[in-house]
Symmetry: C2
Subunit: 384 residues, 2 copies
């Protein structure tokens, strides 16, 4: 653990940097208020005309206020990174970071709101209560299965886009990577046999988006093994998954699921697999081991088992599949075109646009770099 | 109405400016995220160390997150400026303006939250839910009497300062003005006879702060006339006022109240008074006609009636008494010293500090200019 306690370790550097910054975002006035004339326009008495105008024509709020540019990044801290349920304050540094990336990658103004409640009804009420000032809502790090109900009910009640990024941002990034990985391996998307380890927010959304993309043979595993039609005790999203996936009704665990699989997608936990698991897979196995910070299998070990393409969520290996490729562009597009909902078609298009940015994909380059300036505009173009 | 429809009128200019700006505040990252190294510190994986640290030591959240610098400016739009109940979106331009002033005058980062509910319980729940990311809460434009309960209950439940600015910001600014006005008129504060027209948020808070400042003879009027001990139908804050004010038990309306009064404070509505009202007052009458944009009596008319000192809320007359003199400094001080509550002693001190900035007050100069750079620090010094 010396790495983690030394002054130059990433955790130590991150702590020092955060203490220096004391918050990763700042509020800046769009206009310097430097004299009484400016004051009388941005504040009283001039602002009264704007308030009256907007109150009468709420549809024009986006033209006169921050509603046209501002996204809320909202979390209840119930499933933060790989850290679990660490609550509102624990989630705040992540949400601030996300807001900084929104601006950096897509010039989206975003503000972090961390909720002092994890009660589903109270979360929904709080988000509805604060919604008026925002043009979009990015839900973040809400635990499954509450995340599904929270997102669905907010989408139904609000006329601004609501997206749980752990679900859809991840799913879009993963599908983009898979489109290019299949291309490199000369396999056809609809013919792939896919195993997804993890039936939480990310695993469920990935399975759904893969189905929409035409992939038919998907097995999802939770901690009890493969999710099969008729498995006892299934409810909610897992019941849905059991009806829509696993057409060959494969029972058992990872060993059984991986037999002959083309693709492994890990969105579960560290160190689930070793080289021998990969050897059970079909030719040219594609392994996305996305658990953070420790993947389901380390790239070296996966290669030892014969993996043809390996991707992780980490920046220190090739093929970093991270939703920072996705969320800035999604909300940039949503704000620009004032779309009321992020639809399935938009998500599919976003994945394809993202994949298309890699002109000649190779085993070590299936997704664009997050600092590639074409990324956000390409994703934004899909949101229409 | 030509003034209001011409291209150069303040309303027309304000509308054009707001349409151009599309929101008066922007979010800026505190650090440019320009490469993978920066990304790995402000976001994953480095941020995990910060989240873990803060989750374990919530008391240090102010050292590592925006909680140490960020104020929420929250409104339900139920009593906006002189416009009344125009709802959340109507309130948003005012709250954005306030956030711009927070930064301009006191380098406080502030973010506007407008609530899609005016139910007292739901307002309180929403504010409690979003509170964790903030180091202070400025309540704004909540209608009386709900504003009193909302503020009181939030103060009780939160360990960060909560201030309803329409009450206390206004009261502090008015007391500062009165301290200097009394000095100019060579009258002693405890001996003043004061009439306050308006028993809403501002009038009630002004009466309470005046009592704390040692003023004993205060008559408050609502739409039914003077508030007297035992008047029928009084409840809540008006019942309290009836017990604490009007020691001479003056019954009747403005005519009766003003007889022999040294000071008139108007926080009610336009055009209530004319010169003959001022003539009923004592020698060297002090008239603060603060209704916005149209005062209870225009300065010219007040002077005609013999007013010695006239103040308004407007920037186009001398003696503008506006809470922008107060709120930036109050929260600057509260953040700097991490005070959990704004106490009565702090408010009194703030008014005195503000008054003291005018070294030699005159009838036309009883409060400092809002652009005087000494204002926010002087007020901030009082918050300890």
């Amino acid at each position: 653990m010396a790495k983690h306690t030394s002054k130059n370790s990433i955790p130590a550097q991150a702590l020092a940097l955060h203490k220096k910054l004391r918050g990763k975002i700042r509020i800046e006035p769009a206009l310097k208020v430097k004299d009484r004339a400016a004051l009388s326009l941005v504040y009283t008495p001039g602002v009264a005309a704007v308030s009256t105008h907007v109150a009468k024509r709420p549809g024009e709020a986006r033209d006169y206020t921050i509603k046209g540019r501002m996204v809320a990044v909202i979390s209840d801290g119930s499933a933060v990174l790989g850290l679990g349920n660490i609550g509102a304050l624990g989630a705040l540094p992540v949400m601030e970071g996300k807001c900084a990336l929104f601006k950096t990658f897509a010039n989206v103004d975003a503000f972090p709101i961390v909720l002092d409640t994890q009660d589903t009804e109270k979360v929904i009420e709080a988000v509805l209560a604060v919604a008026p000032a925002f043009g979009g809502i990015n839900l973040e790090d809400f635990a499954a299965p509450r995340c599904f109900e929270i997102e669905a009910r907010l989408k139904e009640k609000l006329d601004i886009p609501v997206m749980h990024d752990d679900q859809h941002g991840t799913a879009i990034a993963v599908l983009a990577g898979l489109i290019n990985a299949a291309k490199v391996a000369r396999k056809k998307l609809p013919e792939l046999r896919v195993v997804i380890s993890g039936a939480g927010a990310a695993g469920t959304a990935i399975a759904k988006l893969f189905l929409l993309a035409g992939i038919r043979d998907i097995i999802v595993l939770d901690s009890k093994g493969t999710i099969t039609h008729g498995r006892e005790g299934l409810a909610g999203h897992k019941l849905e998954l059991s009806e829509a996936t696993n057409p060959r009704a494969v029972a058992g665990g990872l060993d059984e699921a991986l037999r002959g699989a083309d693709v492994f997608i890990g969105v579960s936990g560290p160190n689930l697999m070793n080289a021998s698991h990969v050897r059970r897979m079909a030719e040219k196995p594609i392994v996305f081991a996305m658990a953070n910070p420790t993947p389901e299998i380390m790239p070296e070990e996966a290669k030892k088992g014969g993996a043809y393409i390996v991707a992780t969520g980490r920046s220190d290996f090739p093929n970093q599949i991270n939703n920072s490729l996705v969320f800035p562009g999604v909300f940039r597009g949503a704000l620009d075109r004032r779309v009321p909902k992020i639809t399935d078609e938009m998500k599919l298009r976003a994945a394809k646009n993202l994949a298309a940015l890699v002109a000649r994909p190779t085993p070590d380059k299936i997704v664009p770099d997050p600092f590639d300036r074409r990324v956000a505009p390409a994703v934004a173009k899909a949101i229409r």
